[in-house]
Symmetry: C2
Subunit: 359 residues, 2 copies
């Protein structure tokens, strides 16, 4: 049933090493006859090399470990599509693990390591101090396995592929400025100044400020109390974000003048803010423009459809896998940072400067 090189050797009446040499393409030095015969028989028998034997022999597996922890599960599929795209032309296959707990994460990593994966694509949990980063870093070094970190900045000396939150925010802010907005607020995470833990919020604020500064406009930052880090029930996280957005309006109304546009830290916050606005009789976008972040499926169907940006999960997966292949080949890949994709919809418009109907 199972056809190995031995089978071929016996059928062709040559030795296994001859078969091996010929099949691996180094068969120039053999008789054309022999070569022909061996190749023919291999094809006829439908020979498939045993990747396991190869893996044992070479101490490499043609396997890529993919450790996914806190990536928004909505993007996991897209991310993996990108990974597949990058390895489509190679013999590599992805060994995928979703880790939910810190211990789970290490177990998944161990599994990858004793599978002798040739490289590791790592997404550490965002904002989790619970994970034993020291251990992870140590293991990586110990096993000398090439790795690329995605959606995070937790592993020093590991090449990274990330969302460029700074550039994204700059893009959004410039977009609003170009529309004519002059009072643009940022509704963000309460701990956005904690660069290491909430790097995404921090980066967003940077980009926001940069764009405003370039236009000679003052930043207006409203920080919301978000305590999702303490809670593990996903629906609560979402409820918390919308609540924060809803309550954000109070902060905006307390300002000397209401901003004409608000860039949010997350779509869900924009949803909450949108509802609060409606209850206060503020029209979106006529009275106030709302800019989300995340590109959630829902953003397309709320009322009005939310202008937002979507993480380029496919691109990130593809770039990360491509860079990992480079690293496996011994070339140190550069870090990559990819801006989100802008999805312009109906929650943003030119400001109604004169109190007249917009447009």
């Amino acid at each position: 049933m199972k056809v190995t090189r031995k089978t071929i050797a016996e059928t062709a009446k040559v030795s296994v090493s001859t078969v091996g040499m010929i099949l691996s393409g180094q068969g120039e030095r053999y008789h054309a006859d022999t070569r022909q015969r061996v190749l023919q028989i291999a094809a006829d028998l439908g020979y498939q090399p045993s990747i396991n034997a190869r893996a044992l022999r070479f101490q490499r597996s043609l396997l890529l470990g993919v450790l996914i922890n806190a990536v928004n599960t909505h993007f996991a599929a897209e991310f993996l599509h990108g990974v597949q795209d990058a390895i489509a032309a190679t013999d590599y296959s992805p060994l995928v693990f979703f880790a939910k707990s810190p211990e789970g994460f290490e177990q998944c990593m161990d599994r990858c390591l004793n599978r002798h994966v040739d490289g590791l694509l790592i997404n550490c949990v965002a904002g989790a101090t619970e994970i034993n980063l020291e251990g992870v870093i140590h293991k990586l070094a110990d096993h000398a396995v090439p790795a690329v970190e995605v959606f995070g900045h937790f592993l020093p000396a590991v090449p990274k592929v990330n969302v460029d939150n700074r550039q994204t925010a700059e893009l959004c802010t410039r977009h609003l400025i170009a529309q004519g907005h002059r009072r643009i607020a940022l509704l963000t995470h309460g701990r956005y100044e904690n660069q290491s833990l909430h790097f995404d919020a921090w980066e967003q604020a940077q980009g926001y400020r940069d764009a405003l500064q370039a236009a000679g406009l003052p930043p207006i930052i409203i920080a919301c109390d978000l305590n999702y880090a303490r809670v593990h029930e996903p629906s609560f996280v979402e409820a918390d974000f919308t609540r924060a957005g809803f309550e954000g309006l109070a902060g905006l109304l307390a300002l000397p003048q209401l901003p004409t546009a608000v860039l949010c830290y997350a779509d869900l916050m924009a949803f909450g803010l949108n509802r609060a606005c409606r209850l206060k009789g503020l029209e979106v976008p006529a009275d106030i423009s709302l800019f989300g972040k995340g590109g959630t499926a829902l953003s397309a169907i709320v009322n009005p459809p939310l202008t937002t940006t979507r993480p380029p999960a496919f691109e990130i997966g593809r770039t990360a896998a491509a860079n990992l292949l480079l690293a496996i080949r011994g070339q140190a890949p550069a870090d990559a940072c990819i801006a989100e994709t802008l999805l312009e919809r109906q929650s943003t418009a030119a400001p109604n400067i004169h109190g007249l109907p917009a447009k």
Copy 2:
């Protein structure tokens, strides 16, 4: 650096076979001393068995192929968690592929087969006639690889693990009946009678009818025109569902009497219907109870929070993987069908029978 049984044997001054016997738990016949020493050293050195060597020895790859096509990506992570849970105590690892196109699906399958996966977990695309099922079935038979199909009924003679849509609908309907509802409508897919293509809608209708019949109540089915099968832009799918739900109210209003409760084919349809109700001045749940399906994250935070059911993706993943392991061991696993989990929230309540404010 790398610690094998040889390393342990040398350190413990015994033979590799002794180490092997002891580590595999069959070390009763050895000196307690020896056993202790070997186990201690193995632990100290952090010995991890080489799965590749084992795989070669046993002629199995210890790899499980997972082909995911149309599973709601929201559930993919949960599903894979379940798979991991089932194989946690084994040496198996999941080779995961997300296929977006029919050709992509076959390529992924080929990759699994080339890798000699010991088993295949397959999710074929729902409602896709485009996929070459014949080819898939043929390949499975050809390679004699055990398989389990999940979230679908497309592969004859392959054991299945599915959501029990019939039982779920029966559960929901009975729940509404128990609350006192007598006019309960089903807002569903226009082609719900196409059992093979839209089996989920078909099954739901069955359960709905069964529960009503048992209570001596008449079914009221409103079928919506859904054309998502023709469209590949995900946000459109969602827009289409909400639109269908929104328009569904017209069908309900055209009835001799408005139902007091509506079971929907999907959360998104319930969202659309909810909005339509509000616009018509109908209060949920005071005037009409709404029951979703899907347990989307959003369902928890809409207003009012939607009573719905959530696919037991974790359970399905776990059961499917467990059954696949059975199949690999040569035991034919039974089909499994698991009802969704009921999430009771605020969109359902006892009917306001007398036109008085509910409750």
